[in-house]
């Protein structure tokens, strides 16, 4: 599963202060990717060593699954 790189600007926008919250870490220590957990699918930004999430946005209801009926417009 590909894990997107995260920039320092991205982390800043998420309210992360690296010096305060993750001393010794850089933006290269974070990745953005979908996870399945309690509550369903999330697009998480996670510190890879500690697994701490700095962002968890709800993802698509079925995650990466595409149904045959997805996109069907019956109107």
């Amino acid at each position: 599963m590909p894990r997107e790189e995260v920039s320092q600007e991205d982390l800043h926008a998420l309210g992360v202060d690296l010096a305060r919250d993750f001393p010794g870490s850089t933006a290269a220590d974070f990745r953005r990717y979908p996870v399945l957990s309690e509550g369903g699918w999330f697009i998480a930004v996670k510190h890879q060593r500690t697994l701490e999430s700095v962002a968890r946005e709800p993802g698509p209801l079925l995650g990466p699954i595409i149904l045959a009926s997805d996109g069907l417009d019956v109107n």
């Binding site: 309690e38 509550g39 500690t50 697994l51 079925l62 995650g63 699954i65 149904l67």
Partner: protein, 643 residues
């Protein structure tokens, strides 16, 4: 820093949960009582063998949309359903639209990709309203004996797509204002077989949803809505905290393992492998399944939610067995899983039916990956495959019959633990079901269960011994067609741990009547090696000449004959895999080995070979006269230690 639940003072607790600690606990217990009561009601009144004799259903309670549907209570039944049902409720209700629900509704969904499991496992979801407010859902997921598709009763690994697999029901209203919706029933009954059994069972399911709703509303009337909703949060927080505590006790690190399944239903040329990389840091865990093989060409696939279940069950077994398996158990666990693998199949080509055969290795991969980190707390592997036998035919008077999951190798051994020897007759770790009674089978089917017994020397040797493999022979009195699905015969599933040895391999054979009719001969088929010369292999690693099990032999492919057509008096023999042992076998007390020889779990030869214990006597003619030769045992064990 998170304050543990027991360290909250009374004020903090009440503020968080809208109820005092005592009330929240009472309501949490009450919810567990409710789901169990719903299950008892279905079990006692079901007609279908798969519900009545297998307990192939589960009940849950979930919270409302504004809480994101937390699943706070689960029944003591099929774990394979429990891990999917929290998402099943959310996905079904969100697609249907919570705003479209009203009191008196029941919504159903059976789509494996939306709701997990397979199409026969319909989720029946009842919204619970307190006045006009949607406060909860009670859900029964129950296996329907048939859901259409090309295989009667459905259990087969040879179906090639969703169109062959069976009827897919997107979120659909089944009841409105407590009245059945005829068109929804027609959808099922125009597609499914054995509807005379399905209809009363669906009515019973509906009645038990009403029971669950009624009991919830009685509690809400007594304690109030806020206390009830607080108790839902509290119940999931208890599970989350227990799992978090258990995770924190595991050593941090990266743990990897691979597992597999024999093949799919097209041919045996494709190697299906699960790769898992587990990263553990503090109280958090991430399981990444990237690199797992693409989805299979037939219905051996599992869906994403089934894989989520297997992860949860594995971790509950290994590190947190004491608290209920609510949705909160996953709070500090992230699963990374791309779509389109054989444990995350997609429609329409990634047919999902025998999903547990593919998620069993997920569970085993977690067991294997964490074995060293767990040390003494590692758990041995089980028999690995339900070896489901699915058959049907017609009686002389034209009445159709069907058997499903009764006469194969559905039940077998578990792996040993630090606590002791393993049980030899349970159902796989991810399930929690009954064993259909032989009397029930024989009273309803033209079938006779000839053998149902343990096999010596099949359980993994260890300080604590793995469970023994189960051998089962079933005689079919009429002509029949059969689908046989043993999918873990190439390598042992009964993983040995902490120095224990792995369990033996299983296999399946059919003895056609023209090669030895047990009815005419009036004697059972023996269990010695020479009898297999008369057998036709169905699946397993076998010597091609003798047809006996041989780990270095030839693999006989389970779907080489996709449908077995047999004449009257054919016998199918299933031998499950053995369970894994725990601990060094040469540390096992010789007296315990002697007892195993007396009870025929171990032979005298096996005691010598696997345990280094020399036993004299004859277990068949003088079982209480067996003796341990202590001097010879010391010598033998010294030889084994010197290797």
């Amino acid at each position: 820093m998170t304050v543990s639940l027991k360290d909250l003072d009374d004020g903090q607790f009440t503020e968080r949960y809208g109820a005092d600690r005592f009330t929240a606990t009472v309501l949490a217990s009450r919810m567990r009582y409710i789901v169990q009561h719903m299950c008892t009601g279905l079990l006692n009144n079901a007609f279908s063998l798969i519900l009545r004799d297998w307990y192939d259903f589960a009940a849950t309670i979930s919270g409302p949309p504004e809480q994101n549907y937390p699943m706070s209570s689960v029944s003591n039944s099929l774990a394979m359903f429990l891990g999917t049902m929290s998402e099943a409720v959310r996905n079904t209700v969100e697609e249907y639209g919570p705003e479209n629900l009203r009191p008196g509704d029941v919504v159903i969904c059976n789509d494996p990709y939306r709701a997990g499991n397979h199409v026969n496992d319909i989720c029946f979801i009842r919204p619970v309203f307190a006045g006009d407010r949607l406060i909860s859902f009670v859900t029964l997921r129950a296996h329907q004996l048939d859901m259409g598709g090309v295989v009667p009763a459905g259990f087969s690994g040879t179906k090639r797509n969703v169109y062959e697999n069976g009827l897919v029901i997107a979120p659909t209203l089944l009841y409105r204002d407590n009245k059945p919706i005829k068109s929804a029933f027609n959808l099922i009954f125009d597609n499914a077989r054995y509807c005379a059994l399905l209809l009363p069972d669906i009515k019973t399911i509906y009645a038990n949803l009403l029971l669950g709703e009624q009991l919830i509303l009685e509690s809400v009337e007594r304690y109030g809505v806020e206390a009830y909703l607080g108790a839902i949060r509290y119940s999931t927080d208890v599970s989350a905290e227990a799992m978090r505590t258990a995770l924190a006790e595991l050593p941090d690190g990266v743990y990897e393992a691979e597992e597999g399944i024999d093949c799919d239903g097209i041919d045996d040329t494709v190697d299906y492998r699960i790769k898992v990389k587990i990263t553990k840091s503090g109280p958090r865990m991430e399981l990444d399944f990237s690199g797992t093989s693409p989805q299979a060409r037939t219905s051996i696939n599992a869906g994403i939610l089934d894989t989520k279940t297997a992860v949860g069950v594995a971790l509950k077994f290994l590190i947190d067995p004491a608290t209920p398996f609510t949705s909160g158990a996953y709070r500090d666990i992230d699963i990374v899983l791309p779509a389109g693998t054989f444990i995350s199949a997609t429609p329409p080509d990634g047919a999902v039916f025998l999903y547990w055969e593919s998620t069993g290795p997920v569970l085993l991969a977690v067991f294997r990956a964490l074995e060293k980190a767990l040390g003494r707390k590692a758990v041995g592997g089980d028999y690995g495959s339900l070896n489901i036998h699915n058959a049907n035919g017609v009686l002389e008077d034209g009445t159709p019959w069907v058997t499903t999951a009764q006469c194969g190798g559905e039940h077998g051994p578990w792996g040993a633990t630090e606590a002791g020897d393993a049980d030899s007759y349970s159902v796989v770790y991810q399930a929690n079901n009954l064993d259909p009674a032989t009397e029930a089978i024989e009273s309803e089917l033209p079938a006779v269960v000839l053998r149902k017994e343990y096999t010596p020397d099949s359980g993994g040797a260890g300080t604590n011994r793995g469970g023994a493999a189960v051998l089962k022979d079933t005689l079919y009195l009429t002509a029949a067609e059969h689908w046989s699905s043993p999918l873990h015969t190439k390598s042992p599933s009964g993983l040995g741990v902490y120095g224990g040895k792995s369990g033996g391999l299983g296999a399946t054979w059919v003895f056609h009547a023209d090669r030895g009719d047990v009815v005419r001969r009036k004697e059972l088929i023996g269990t010695t090696d020479e009898v297999y010369a008369e057998a036709t292999p169905v699946a397993g690693m076998l010597n091609p000449d003798t047809k006996c099990i041989d780990p270095d032999g030839k693999y006989f492919y389970f779907a080489s004959t996709p449908v077995w057509h047999t004449k009257p008096h054919a016998v199918f023999r299933y031998l499950t895999n053995g369970g894994g042992g725990w601990g060094d076998p040469t540390e096992r007390d010789p007296e315990r080995v002697k007892k195993d020889v007396r009870d025929e779990y171990v032979t005298i030869e096996g005691a010598y070979r696997d345990y280094g214990v020399v036993i004299t006597g004859d277990p068949l003619t003088d079982p209480e006269g067996l003796q341990v030769d202590e001097a010879a045992t010391r010598k033998r064990r010294a030889e084994m230690a010197a290797r």
